[in-house]
Symmetry: C2
Subunit: 214 residues, 2 copies
């Protein structure tokens, strides 16, 4: 059976659906129609129905969608019904913040290790996890079934580290380094380019000011 490829536009909206459904669930709402949800989320009801139907019918004519069921189904689609071991590469400010932050743990993303090449950081504690020297990376990744590497290192060293990770079976890279990575097909990359995001904001400030000065 041929699975149809879901567009990244749709995937990109799933976490937001998941968030809204979680809120509805917490509010004790049992069912919701695409119409009601569309008003709340400020998207069209049509888009909601199209999106959900990519994964098969979750609703029922004349009734709508069961909130809890839909929430769980979207969670499964997003792979939140199982755990993912992750390591952080780079124990600088951002790396440590992500290690400490880890609200992600609640969603099954388990913080297993953090690495740095700076000897003076090695041994420091980040939420119960000791910083390891980067030379231990390969062995650790292999032995601890690590699936995701979070890259919070300078762009100069990103390429080499990625090669080492790939060689040792990493499945996915959450990339905070400000560079485009080269990985073989089958290794997933998700970029978080913070400075790109800030530049977009800056563009929009600029544009608004220009539009309104005339």
């Amino acid at each position: 059976m041929e699975e149809k490829e879901i567009s990244q536009a749709v995937i990109g909206r799933l976490p937001r659906y998941f968030r809204y459904l979680g809120e509805l669930k917490d509010e004790g709402v049992e069912r919701i129609s695409s119409q009601e949800l569309s008003e709340r989320m400020k998207v069209t009801a049509s888009q909601i129905r199209q999106d959900f139907n990519n994964f098969g019918g979750f609703g029922q004519q004349g009734y709508g969608y069961n909130v809890e069921y839909l929430y769980n189904e979207i969670g499964k689609i997003l792979g939140l019904d199982r755990t993912h071991n992750l390591v952080i590469i780079g124990a600088g400010n951002l790396g440590r913040a992500l290690g400490n932050y880890m609200n992600f743990e609640r969603r099954g993303f388990l913080f297993r290790g953090i690495f740095d090449c700076n000897e003076s950081l090695v041994g420091q504690d980040v939420r119960g996890v000791k910083v390891r020297h980067i030379r231990e990376l390969e062995q650790f990744v292999r032995e601890n079934d690590i699936e995701i590497a979070v890259l919070t290192i300078p762009k100069e060293s990103a390429g080499k580290i990625v090669d080492r990770l790939v060689q040792n079976g990493i499945r996915a890279i959450w990339n905070f380094a400000h560079v485009d990575l080269n990985v073989p097909e089958g290794v997933q990359v998700e970029n978080v380019h913070l400075s790109d995001s800030l530049m977009k904001l800056s563009y929009n400030i600029n544009r608004y000011m220009k539009e309104n000065e005339r």
Copy 2:
């Protein structure tokens, strides 16, 4: 004169162009054709020419684009030719990391203040900037010509803080809180929903595994 509205799809690509042109400039490359740039960036030459032409002709037939000129022009479009004062709201792990990190300073985003409601954090030093109590927010924003607020607080308190910021003339919000903000027209919002990003990664891991188990 009617300015044509540029689509956010185009805006979203500008920072990446800017990055590649910066690299070319550093490599001492003087000129580049859309064809060469397209190979490097792995996009179509057609898209590159269309994108640039949204802002008027930056190139020259038979020659291509002058790297330094194009770099500077895109910088201007992105508003990087001037400075932007910003404050960080929330001196937790992420807020402090962003304050310390501030590679952004180089691009004209000046870190002016950081605020928290937790008395025990007040007075702490983040790269030379003392953490202030949130009650000082309004006055500080007004008196220091603050343009951008970086929101690194829990979603529960985001709404109220945003109202206070808007009341005091903030122009833009860089939102790391996991919630959709309501702002009046004219206030720019750029969301960085880290957990959404991580969920997308998780989806793609999942998908790949399923595709390959059969």
